[in-house]
């Protein structure tokens, strides 16, 4: 299945756009989506240890299965809020 992936901050800049699609097998997890993303955009590989994942408006663990139609967001640790 094709899974849309949203990228933010340095991930978006590294890839050159904020939204890509990856192809994964049915039953794939968020980790599988990341692996497909990093294969297509190897510049992201070193970021994996601190990467956060979200589906919809919630954080998810990497072992969460992705259902058809869901978008996965990948991004670095957050840094909003000011001082």
């Amino acid at each position: 299945m094709r899974v849309p992936v949203a990228l933010f901050a340095r991930y978006r800049e590294a890839v050159g756009r904020g939204r890509v699609e990856v192809e994964v097998a049915a039953g794939a997890t968020v980790e599988d989506v990341w692996a497909a993303l990093a294969r297509a955009h190897p510049v992201l590989m070193p970021y994996r240890p601190h990467t956060l994942f979200a589906v919809g408006t919630d954080y998810v663990e990497a072992d969460r299965p992705v259902r058809a139609g869901e978008e996965v967001a990948c991004f670095p640790p957050v840094s909003g809020g000011g001082a």
């Binding site: 949203a6 933010f8 901050a9 340095r10 978006r12 692996a35 990093a38 190897p42 510049v43 590989m45 070193p46 970021y47 994996r48 601190h50 956060l52 979200a54 919809g56 408006t57 919630d58 954080y59 967001a73 991004f75 670095p76 640790p77 957050v78 840094s79 909003g80 809020g81 000011g82 001082a83």
Partner: protein, 150 residues
């Protein structure tokens, strides 16, 4: 009111939004763009957000506040995105309560939690370059080449 916005933020806007007849104390916090980070001159900041998720998280924080501080009457959390100059507010939080201790505690909890969980990122623009702020390096580690890794 929980909102990600490109418009300037003001203390009055959040103070007025939380002022209700039965609240006697209003605590406001503004996070303001500083002119330096660890001594390096900052010209501006750029904030970027996962907007729908960020607004959902702001709302979660507000609901957690009402749950933990029953004396709290109103909570407003606004976060600005886009390019901000030194002295402009990136985040504005207002909390009203019958008694001031609740307002202070809840306001502090709100900003602490905003910084921890809301998907917003900032990049510092220096006179001589820029850098994303956060745990990861400014770019792939030295010596790393595409194809390394798994």
């Amino acid at each position: 009111m929980y909102r990600i916005t490109e418009e300037p933020l003001s203390a009055d806007a959040v103070a007025q939004a939380v002022t209700v007849p039965e609240a006697g104390g209003v605590a406001v916090f503004l996070g303001v763009v500083r002119n330096n980070t660890a001594g390096r001159g900052v010209v501006a900041l750029e904030y970027e957000a996962h907007v729908p998720m960020a607004e959902a998280k702001l709302k979660e924080i507000g609901e957690a506040v009402y749950g933990r501080w029953p004396g709290v009457r109103q909570v407003v959390i606004l976060h600005r995105i886009g390019r901000l100059s030194v002295g402009e507010a990136s985040v504005a939080i207002g909390v009203s309560a019958a008694h001031r201790q609740d307002a202070f505690e809840a306001c502090q909890y709100a900003i602490d939690t905003v910084k921890r969980i809301v998907p917003i990122w900032k990049r510092e623009l220096f006179e001589d370059g820029s850098a994303w702020v956060g745990l990861q390096g400014e770019s792939p580690p030295p010596g790393w080449k595409a194809g390394d890794g798994r």
